[in-house]
C-alpha cells in the first residue's frame, strides 16, 4: 500500500580502506585457573571447554548438567559463587558454526562475594528453532528476571522456570527481536528528497488508532482484593514502570512489576551500529549517569581491544565518573524526597540546584548536559578546559556543606526516619541470592564495591571508604548513598591532586582520531581519520563481560565480537533491572505508601530497566 522510497545508504557502500573480513568465532578459552580446574575435575567430560579468556574464567558446559554445575559452584565452599548477576544469550546464526553446533548459547555471570571471583558459564541450548535450556531460577532468584528477558527477546525456553512470561515486549508481539534473523525495523530518515513519499505525506495528521488491551491479571493475584495499577503513568514510578498491586485495605498483598514500556531496543540497535556509535546510545540508557555508562561500555571494548589508556585519561575518567555519581545520587535524593515527602518539599529543588552545577561542569567539558558521551574508546573526547579545574575545586569546597544541609533536613527528621526505617527490609542472604548490586547490597551488610574489589580504570590508586550498613532497610540505603556522595568528593579531590599531564586519549591511531592539526600535513593521519569515521575500528573476535560500579549498582557490558567493526552481540546488565526484582519482596506486607518509598530506595531508571 505505502511505498518506501528505495534510498538506503549503507556505510559499506562508502569507500573503505580494506575489505571487511569474514566473521570469526570468538576463540575458546585457554589455560586454566584453580576454579576451572576444580570444576573440570568434578564434571570431566561434560565440560566442553574451560579456562581463561580475556582474563575471565569461562566454563562451557553441556546443558543437561548446567543445573548440577550451578548447584555445585554455589554450594562448594571452595568455589562459593553465591550470586547470578546476569543471564544473556547469543544467537550464533550469522557466525560460521558447524551444522551440529547449537545456534543459541546461554551465558551466565556468577559472582562470589566472599572470594571476589567472577565466573562465566556458557551452555549451548538444545534445539535450534525452539531452543531450551534448564533454568537456574530456582537456585538463584537473581536469574529469574534475566532469564525472562532472554525468553522474551531471544525465544529461549527455560525448563523449570518459576514464572515464564514475556517481560519487555507486549504479549502479542510477533517475534523475538534479538534473534539474528529478525530485522532491526524502523523507518527511513526523511529528507526533502523523500518528503513527498506517501509514507511521510501524512505525518502529523494521521492519527493511528491504538487500542489498549485490558491487561491480564498476573498469576497469584486475587480479584476479591483491590487491584491497583500503579503506572505506567504514575508520578512515583520514576518513569513508565507499571506495578500491579494487590491491596487489602492499604496493606500490600502482592506486587507484580510490568516492564517494557520504555523498551527501546538498545541491544539490537547496538548490534547494528559501529562500536564508536554505540557510545552515544549508552548515554540514553541510564540517562542519569551517562558518564558511568560510557565508562562501562568503553572499558569492555577496550578489554577486547587490549588497549592501554594514558594516565591522564584514566584520572579524568575517574573524576567524571565520580562527579556523575554525585549528580545521580543528588537526583535520586531529590526524587526520593519528593516521593516520600510530597511536592512542596524544598529538598527537591535544593538537590537539583546543586546537580545543575555539576551539569554545568559537564557542559563545559562535553558540550551537553545529560547525554555526555565524553568517555570514548581510547580515552576521553576532549581534554579538560582550563577553567574546569578551578570550577570543580569551587564546587567541591561547597558540596559537603550542602550535604550537611540535606542531612539536617532529613537524616534525623522524625517523619523521614519513620517513613524509611524498617521499610523494604532485605536480609543479606536475600540480596545476594537476588543478585542485587550497588547500594542495595551495601545497605544489607555485604561489603562489596567493584571499585575496590575488582578495580578498573585506576581505582586502585584511590583511598576511599565503602559505606556498609547492615539494617537492610530504606534508611540504611539512604545513609549508604549519602556517605557515597561524600566519599566521591574525597576521590575527586585525590584525583585532582594527582592529575598528570599527558595525552587525554591514546595515540593508537587504529582506534583514536588523529589531532586535527595532523590532517593537513600527514596523509597517514588523513587515512586514519577517514577510516575511523566511515568504518570505525575493528575489534578482535572475542567475548567479554566487564562490570563497573555505576551509581545504581553493577553495570555490566557483555560484548561478543566477530572481528568486524560492529558488535556481534551486545548485552547490557543494567543495575536497575536486576535491583527492581526486589520490589515484590520488599513491598509485600507493607503499606501502599511504602511501595513508593521502596521504588525510590531502589533508585531505578527505566531507560536502563527496559533498555
Amino acid at each position: 500500500m505505502l511505498n518506501v522510497a528505495p534510498r538506503f545508504r549503507e556505510y559499506e557502500t562508502l569507500p573503505s580502506l580494506n575489505d571487511p573480513s569474514i566473521p570469526a568465532l570468538p576463540p575458546l578459552p585457554t589455560g586454566e585457573s584453580e576454579d576451572t580446574r576444580r570444576i573440570v575435575e568434578r564434571f570431566g567430560e561434560d565440560i566442553l571447554a574451560a579456562g581463561l579468556h580475556n582474563g575471565q574464567q569461562i566454563v562451557y558446559v553441556k546443558p543437561e548438567r548446567l543445573l548440577e554445575l550451578a548447584a555445585f559452584v554455589k554450594d562448594d565452599p571452595k568455589l562459593a559463587y553465591e550470586a547470578v548477576v546476569d543471564v544473556s544469550a547469543i544467537d550464533r546464526l550469522k557466525l560460521p558454526i558447524g551444522a551440529d553446533d547449537a545456534r543459541f548459547q546461554v551465558v551466565h555471570q556468577l559472582r562470589s562475594y566472599a572470594r571476589k571471583q567472577h565466573l562465566m558459564i556458557v551452555a549451548p541450548c538444545v534445539g535450534n528453532e525452539t531452543p531450551t535450556v534448564p533454568s537456574l531460577g530456582n537456585l538463584f532468584a537473581g536469574a529469574i528476571w534475566p532469564e525472562r528477558e532472554v525468553l522474551d527477546l531471544m525465544g529461549i525456553t527455560f525448563t523449570g522456570h518459576p514464572d515464564p512470561r514475556r517481560i519487555l515486549m507486549p504479549d502479542s508481539w510477533p517475534n523475538h527481536p534479538l534473534r539474528k534473523d529478525v530485522p532491526l525495523g524502523g523507518e527511513e530518515v526523511p529528507f526533502t528528497l523523500t518528503w513527498g513519499d506517501p509514507e511521510f505525506a501524512t505525518l502529523g495528521k494521521q492519527i493511528l488508532p491504538a487500542e489498549s488491551v485490558p491487561p491480564k491479571l498476573p498469576p497469584g493475584m486475587n480479584r476479591e482484593n483491590m487491584i491497583i495499577n500503579m503506572g505506567p503513568h504514575h508520578p512515583s514510578t520514576h518513569g513508565v514502570l507499571r506495578l500491579v498491586v494487590e491491596l487489602e485495605g492499604e496493606t500490600v498483598v502482592n506486587v507484580d512489576p510490568d516492564l517494557g514500556y520504555l523498551h527501546s531496543g538498545f541491544e539490537k540497535t547496538g548490534e547494528n551500529k559501529r562500536y564508536k556509535d554505540f557510545v552515544y546510545y549508552t548515554d540514553r540508557m541510564d540517562y542519569l549517569s551517562s558518564m558511568n555508562n560510557n565508562f562501562g561500555y568503553v572499558l569492555a571494548v577496550e578489554k577486547l581491544l587490549g588497549l592501554e589508556i594514558p594516565e591522564r585519561a584514566q584520572v579524568i575518567r575517574v573524576i567524571m565518573s565520580e562527579l556523575q555519581r554525585i549528580a545521580s545520587h543528588l537526583f535520586w535524593l531529590s526524587t526520593h524526597a519528593l516521593d516520600v515527602s510530597g511536592t512542596g518539599m524544598s529538598l527537591l529543588m535544593y538537590a537539583t540546584r546543586e546537580r545543575e552545577r555539576i551539569l554545568d561542569l559537564f557542559e563545559m567539558v562535553c558540550g551537553a548536559r545529560l547525554t555526555l558521551s565524553y568517555i570514548r574508546v581510547g580515552g576521553v573526547w576532549r581534554d579538560l578546559p582550563e577553567a574546569f579545574i578551578n570550577n570543580l575545586r569551587d564546587l567541591l569546597a561547597v558540596l559537603p556543606r550542602y550535604f550537611d544541609d540535606y542531612e539536617a533536613m532529613l537524616t534525623h527528621a522524625p517523619l523521614w526516619q519513620e517513613r524509611l526505617e524498617g521499610i523494604g527490609k532485605l536480609s543479606r542472604a536475600d540480596v545476594i541470592n537476588m543478585g542485587l548490586t550497588g547500594p542495595m547490597l551495601r545497605g544489607s551488610g555485604v561489603d562489596w564495591d567493584l571499585r575496590r574489589d575488582a578495580p578498573y580504570g585506576g581505582y586502585e590508586n584511590y583511598d576511599f571508604k565503602v559505606p556498609v550498613y547492615t539494617e537492610g532497610d530504606c534508611y540504611a540505603r539512604y545513609l549508604v548513598r549519602m556517605e557515597e556522595m561524600r566519599q566521591s568528593v574525597r576521590i575527586i579531590e585525590q584525583a585532582l591532586r594527582n592529575l598528570p599531564d599527558g595525552l587525554f586519549r591514546t595515540d593508537d591511531r587504529k582506534v583514536s582520531l588523529p589531532p586535527r592539526a595532523e590532517l593537513d600535513v600527514s596523509m597517514e593521519a588523513l587515512i586514519h581519520h577517514f577510516k575511523l569515521m566511515t568504518e570505525g575500528f575493528r575489534v578482535p573476535a572475542g567475548m567479554v563481560y566487564h562490570a563497573i560500579e555505576a551509581s545504581k549498582g553493577e553495570l555490566g557490558f557483555f560484548v561478543v565480537s566477530d572481528g568486524s567493526a560492529v558488535p556481534y552481540r551486545l548485552h547490557v546488565r543494567g543495575p536497575s533491572f536486576n535491583n527492581l526484582y526486589a520490589i515484590s519482596k520488599m513491598s509485600r506486607g507493607e503499606m501502599l505508601s511504602d511501595i513508593v518509598t521502596n521504588i525510590g530506595s531502589i533508585d531505578i531508571v527505566l531507560g536502563e530497566v527496559d533498555r
Partner: protein, 328 residues
C-alpha cells in the same frame, strides 16, 4: 426594619464576605506559589502581570473555559455534588467569626464553638463523596484516608477547643476575643498551639498531611477524576479552608482582630486589617511547613492522632479544667 435586619444585612454581609474570601483564595494561591518558589530559591510566576499578580485570574479564566468532562463511569449526581459540598462548609464556617469590634462576620451566635465543630464535621463530605463517586481505586483510597483522618483529628481538635472554651467561659467567639486574659492563660494557650496547628493541618488536608490527595501515591487522590471548574472548586475549598482555619486560629490564640496590649482598641475599622495581618502570618506558617517537612505515612498519621494527640489533648483539657477551677 425586621426584614432589613433579618434578611438584607446578613445577605449583604455574606456577599461581601464571599467576595473577600474568593479574592483571598485567588491571592492565596499566588502567595503560596510565590513564597514556595522563594523557599525553593526560584522566582515563581512572573509572566502574568507584574510579579505574576494576574496569575490567579489566568488560572480562573482558564478553568472556567476548560471543557467539562463527566467521565462515563462515575456516579453522576454525587460526582457533581461533591465539589460543592467541599466548598460550602469552608464558607459557612465564617458565620461566627468576629472580624472587628462588635462586628461578627454574619452573626454572633451563642454556640460559636459548636458551630465550628459541627462544620468541621461535615467538611469531609466533599472529599469522601468525590472519592467514592469517581469510581476509581485511587480516589476511593483517598476518600477512605480522608474520612479516617478527619474523624481521628476531629477528636483532639474538639478536646482542644473545649479546653479553650473552658478558659473563655462561653461559647461565643466575640466574647472570647473581647475578654481580657491573664498572662498565664496566654502562655498555657500558646503551649498547645503547635499541636492544635497539627490538627488543623490534618483537617485541611494540607501538606504534610495531604494524604487524601498524595500525588506521589494516589496520583491525585480523591480529585483524580475531576478537571476544569470542578477541580477548581476543590482547589478553592482547600485554600479557603486554609484561610478559614487561619482566621480561627488567629481568633482563638492571637486575639483575633485586636492588637496586642489593647492598643487602638477603639478604632473599629482597624479590626479586619489586624486580623488579615495575623492570618497572612499564619498562612506563611502553612507554606513554610509545606516547604520543610516530609509527609508521614497514613497509618503513622493515625497512630499519632490516637496514641499521642488524643491522650495529650485529654490531659490538657483536664489540667485546664483544674486551672480554671482553682485560679479563675
Amino acid at each position: 426594619m425586621d426584614w432589613l435586619n433579618l434578611v438584607v444585612f446578613p445577605v449583604l454581609r455574606s456577599v461581601v464576605l464571599i467576595v473577600v474570601l474568593l479574592t483571598g483564595f485567588a491571592y492565596l494561591t499566588w502567595y503560596e506559589r510565590k513564597l514556595l518558589a522563594r523557599f525553593h530559591a526560584r522566582y515563581g510566576p512572573n509572566r502574568a502581570g507584574t510579579f505574576g499578580l494576574l496569575q490567579p485570574v489566568a488560572d480562573a479564566v482558564k478553568a472556567v473555559f476548560k471543557e467539562e468532562v463527566i467521565p462515563r463511569h462515575v456516579d453522576r449526581w454525587v460526582y457533581l455534588l461533591a465539589p460543592m459540598l467541599a466548598l460550602v462548609p469552608a464558607l459557612v464556617i465564617w458565620a461566627v467569626i468576629p472580624v472587628a469590634k462588635g462586628v461578627p462576620a454574619i452573626a454572633d451566635v451563642n454556640i460559636g464553638f459548636l458551630w465550628i465543630l459541627a462544620i468541621a464535621g461535615v467538611e469531609s463530605y466533599g472529599v469522601i463523596l468525590a472519592g467514592w463517586s469517581s469510581n476509581n481505586n485511587y480516589s476511593l483510597l483517598g476518600a477512605l484516608r480522608s474520612s479516617a483522618q478527619m474523624i481521628s483529628y476531629e477528636l483532639p481538635l474538639g478536646m482542644f477547643l473545649v479546653s479553650i472554651l473552658l478558659l473563655a467561659g462561653g461559647f461565643s467567639l466575640v466574647s472570647l476575643v473581647e475578654t481580657p486574659r491573664a498572662w498565664w492563660e496566654w502562655v498555657w494557650l500558646w503551649a498547645m498551639f503547635p499541636l492544635f496547628f497539627i490538627c488543623i493541618l490534618a483537617e485541611t488536608n494540607r501538606s504534610p498531611f495531604d494524604l487524601p490527595e498524595t500525588e506521589n501515591e494516589l496520583v491525585a487522590g480523591f480529585q483524580t477524576e475531576y478537571g476544569g471548574i470542578k477541580f477548581a472548586l476543590f482547589f478553592m475549598a482547600e485554600y479557603i479552608n486554609m484561610i478559614t482555619t487561619s482566621t480561627i486560629m488567629a481568633t482563638l490564640f492571637f486575639g483575633g482582630y485586636r492588637l496586642p496590649f489593647g492598643l487602638l482598641s477603639d478604632v473599629v475599622w482597624l479590626g479586619p486589617f489586624v486580623l488579615a495581618a495575623k492570618v497572612i502570618l499564619l498562612l506563611f506558617l502553612f507554606i513554610w511547613v509545606r516547604a520543610s517537612i516530609g509527609r508521614p505515612r497514613y497509618d503513622q498519621l493515625m497512630h499519632f492522632a490516637w496514641k499521642f494527640l488524643l491522650p495529650v489533648s485529654i490531659g490538657y483539657m483536664i489540667v485546664t479544667a483544674l486551672l480554671v477551677v482553682f485560679f479563675k
